[in-house]
């Protein structure tokens, strides 16, 4: 059945990519979050205090 519905011609326009199908508000938010970084870097790590010379640091 799928084969039958495949069609016999090629479309002129390529199928819209996943990226271009994103809504305007998503693009808007993407630009906003790229532009508005924080004061200083932050990532969640296993310790809040880490000292390379002393593994006993918390």
């Amino acid at each position: 059945m799928r084969k039958m519905l495949k069609g016999t011609y090629k479309t002129r326009e390529p199928r819209a990519s996943k990226k271009s199908r994103r809504s305007a508000s998503e693009l808007f938010e993407e630009r906003a979050t790229e532009k508005l970084g924080g004061s200083i870097a932050f990532v969640i790590t296993s310790k809040l205090l880490w000292d390379s010379g002393d593994e006993k640091a918390e």
Binding site: E34, L36, I40, L48, L49, W50
Partner: protein
């Protein structure tokens, strides 16, 4: 210059999802990487004692008050209440709140500084070279501390004088990421300096910037939460090891009715959102206050970071800001007077025992 009208009430940004928060994490690291490394190298000659040296010198704090510079500092003016209980509390302030503290006679035990901005942050310590600094409307425009955004030159002179007067009684918890102008300013004012590096990235991964800066400076690394206020709270947890921590001035947002013009990221918001910068704000209803506050993507990121961190610490954190959007699991949203009252009873109880 006239301020744009407050036009909240049309479109607003949705709460950010994990992907968007991760993007802010990456963008912030990109923004800080080079300047953080450069400042760390320039600060090396000044590094004597670190926060680990401080930890060895002090005994565990029962309770601490962390003072940030959000709009509730002016709206609620907590200095008077804090002063009454000062003796039983350790006071940690973000650099942005230093002027508020000093002009109200509240001398903090510790001042935390982390933001690598090359010109702005030194103003919090009083900039002796303000006349040579490029013009910047950051302080004039913002509502964060009214006293900072009017008559800048006179205010700067006042901060210089207050910091010079009290410097010898202040300890600065200084990150290697700050401009050496702050370092020299703190040394000139007679402050004691305790150094640390921000945890920029996963120190366990190969090629980690944190590891590299740690090797250059020899200082320990501490998590930041993305901003100085949260860094101050982390300091109260891991170095002071405070059992109970109160937060004041930690709004991470703007009160209802604030014009976008008076917010921290106004120029950036205009760049992204054109004539409607208010569309970049996220509205958060605070059920304790029964009010809707406004926050921008960066402050929202700070809030989510804080909430994640709050679940990982042993201390009891009470948000006594009486404003803002910082509430959730691991944080008690209480009035400052109630925190101080409860704290007084606990302290008296321990003394009797």
């Amino acid at each position: 210059m006239s301020s744009p009208q407050n036009c909240y009430g049309t479109r607003a940004m949705r709460k950010l999802n994990k992907k968007q928060l991760d993007r802010i994490t990456r963008c912030t690291l990109d923004k800080c990487r080079d300047i953080g490394l450069r400042h760390a190298r320039e600060n090396v000659p000044f590094i004597r004692e670190t926060i680990l040296d401080l930890k060895r010198k002090i005994s565990r704090a029962d309770s601490a008050i962390v003072i940030s510079a959000g709009p509730s500092l002016r709206r609620k003016d907590p200095a008077r209440l804090i002063l009454r209980e000062k003796l039983s509390q350790t006071i940690v302030c973000a650099d942005g709140a230093l002027y508020y503290c000093l002009r109200n006679g509240l001398i903090p035990d510790y001042v935390v500084s982390v933001d690598p901005h090359p010109e702005r942050i030194v103003r919090y310590f009083g900039d002796p070279d303000l006349a040579k600094t490029p013009d910047d409307d950051y302080f004039r425009r913002q509502d964060l501390d009214k006293a900072m955004n009017t008559d800048e030159v006179r205010r700067n002179r006042e901060i210089v004088s207050l910091v010079n007067r009290w410097g010898k009684e202040l300890s600065v918890i200084i990150s290697t990421s700050v401009t050496p102008r702050i370092t020299r300013r703190c040394i000139d004012a007679g402050m004691k300096l305790y150094w640390w590096n921000p945890i920029y990235d996963d120190y366990e991964k190969k090629g980690s910037l944190t590891k590299k800066i740690s090797a250059i400076t020899g200082a320990p690394c501490m998590s930041t939460g993305g901003n100085v206020g949260t860094s101050a709270w982390i300091f109260a947890n891991v170095i002071l090891q405070a059992r109970r921590i109160a937060l004041v001035g930690m709004d991470l947002s703007y009160p209802p009715g604030t014009s976008p013009y008076n917010t921290q990221y106004y120029h950036e918001m205009k760049e992204v959102f054109g004539e409607n910068p208010d569309e970049g704000f996220i509205r958060i209803y605070n059920p304790y206050l029964k009010e809707t506050w406004y926050t921008d993507p960066a402050y929202y990121w700070y809030r989510e970071n804080f909430l994640q961190l709050a679940r990982s610490v042993d201390s009891e954190t009470c948000n006594c800001t009486e404003g803002g959007i910082l509430f959730g699991r691991g944080i008690r949203f209480v009035r400052l007077a109630d925190f101080l009252e409860k704290n007084r009873r606990v302290t008296e109880c321990v003394q009797v025992k």
